[in-house]
Symmetry: C2
Subunit: 318 residues, 2 copies
């Protein structure tokens, strides 16, 4: 297999794009594609202040690297969840994020959940009904809240996350199986800021396969954490990813065509009703001031209040 651009030996063959490239041309192609998606979906401009959510994994570190190479003004945010899982998961990923920032002269904000919220994510998960059944759900609520509040406090114009096509297709697949019209209405390459205090969110890698972001990290020599989060095992999103991988093996390109056809259907106004009903329902949390769809405290404040109360109860009983 030869590189389409120079005829040298190809480093990667992307069947879904009918495109093979050598390492140098692939390392050019990824930023070109990313820039194309940033412009196509009006994600942000080079004059804006970007906060990249950095987990220490291949997607987020590659995204930060690409944005930096493209000349964007992007700081990083690492959220310390206090996960060990026998592999020092959080310590290791924080170290990798910090090393990357230092090596590239980039600014990394660190938010430690144990320090700020009062418990590590695994300890918190054990203390709630929601967390015991689905730790990923509690973790998602927590991370989304912290990302939004950090972006607001730091006056960032936009929050960028490393979600790739495999992530987006799996989320879409799950929301489609349930026909969650409200979620379908809100899934997009970019979500505009809301007047109520939701910062703009962008996913510049939403059309890149996970295989492509992984190859980019490897070929660029980016050190990232290989392990999946130990708590994600058996999660629905991983199950949906496996199903989509089987389908992709049978029909190369099906993930991309599924996602792009969905975006076209949305443009036609298919989920407009779902979007309207969701937006009408937004309220303001009386504690943190962030928008919420539930009356009273938002899910983040309510859940963490109960976690701290239970933790205090546990400590008294010890």
């Amino acid at each position: 297999m030869r590189c389409r651009k120079c005829g040298e030996k190809a480093a990667i063959n992307m069947r879904q794009h009918k495109l093979a490239l050598c390492a140098p041309h692939f390392l050019e192609w990824i930023p070109e594609q990313t820039e194309r998606f940033i412009e196509k979906y009006h994600m942000f401009t080079s004059k804006e202040k970007i906060l990249v959510a950095v987990s220490g994994g291949k997607n987020s570190l590659s995204l930060w690297d690409v944005l930096n190479r493209l000349g964007y003004n992007a700081d990083g945010l690492y959220i310390g969840l206090g996960i060990d899982g026998g592999i020092a998961y959080s310590a290791k990923s924080q170290h990798l994020a910090e090393s990357f920032a230092e090596a590239h002269g980039l600014h990394l904000l660190v938010h430690d959940v144990t320090q700020h919220e009062g418990a590590s994510m695994p300890a918190a998960a054990r203390l709630t009904q929601r967390g015991r059944g689905k730790p990923c759900s509690l973790c998602g609520v927590t991370k989304r809240h912290i990302m939004n509040s950090t972006a607001l406090e730091g006056k960032y114009d936009v929050l960028a996350t490393g979600h790739n096509l495999d992530d987006e297709a799996a989320i879409l697949f799950g929301n489609t199986l349930n026909w969650s019209v409200g979620y379908l209405a809100r899934q997009a390459p970019v979500l505009p800021a809301s007047e109520d205090g939701l910062v703009r969110k962008a996913k510049p890698f939403c059309r890149l396969y996970e295989r492509e972001t992984a190859a980019y990290a490897l070929l660029r020599g980016i050190e990232y954490i290989y392990e999946e989060c130990p708590h994600a095992e058996g999660s629905t999103s991983i199950y949906h990813k496996e199903l989509l991988n089987r389908m992709e093996a049978d029909r190369p390109g099906v993930k991309l065509s599924f996602y792009l056809a969905f975006l076209r259907a949305k443009e036609m106004g298919t989920f407009a009703e779902g979007a309207r009903s969701e937006l009408n329902a937004l309220r303001t949390c009386p504690r943190c001031g962030q928008p919420t769809t539930v009356p009273g405290l938002c899910t983040f404040c309510r859940t963490w209040e109960s976690i701290r109360e239970r933790q205090a109860g546990h400590d008294r009983n010890d």
Copy 2:
């Protein structure tokens, strides 16, 4: 495993419904469920004249049997496609349909494609671009046309087909992967008649698993053709059924919840736009007078005209 109703040995365990039943109670349960869906979705009443599309398979013969047991006034329509496939597929299925009609004193209309349209379905498929790639597509167009025109000519109020939940979920899955909003808008347990000449269509088995209709046929002693159509092998719909079967094995009930959630999303008006744009585009075929979405001859008339022309050309060259 015991029957939920009488405690006798169960003949079938339906994990998706958390329900086990003995043979007699299962044979009561299927018509009860069918009656419930007929009423819930306003499919038809006992005063109306029903035409059941009968293929000789488990679904259509079971449906005809159930409608007859429930006291509906239902004739059958068998469409002879002239398929042999080494197993005398059409001859065998026609014989089974005719035997069933005779044994139950029911009226069966027979439409032979070779006789009326001028070529058997396999011969026609070989003569068209569309048919060579996808014989099921040409066959679908042909059967839909014949079912509609036969129902109109016979002044039937409604056309009933044996589509079960596995069929509906697979169709839905395919249309979702492509986000074919027009098709999604038109997929429903019942489609009302249109002023332009589309007869009302109903799928009374749309919420019954294939496994349930097969068990019904077996336990009722209905003789049906076991083989799938020899031309359907490798079709996309069978591929999607296999995927859904794997998902159902991992999560019993997922097919049903997928389909029901879709119906709820539709009720919320999710695909209203798609439905409107499809309906606006309906025209009348100048040859057969049936509605069509394309200008000029409808797909059926256009395709069969070209098949007859090519066949005449072949005959001259022989």
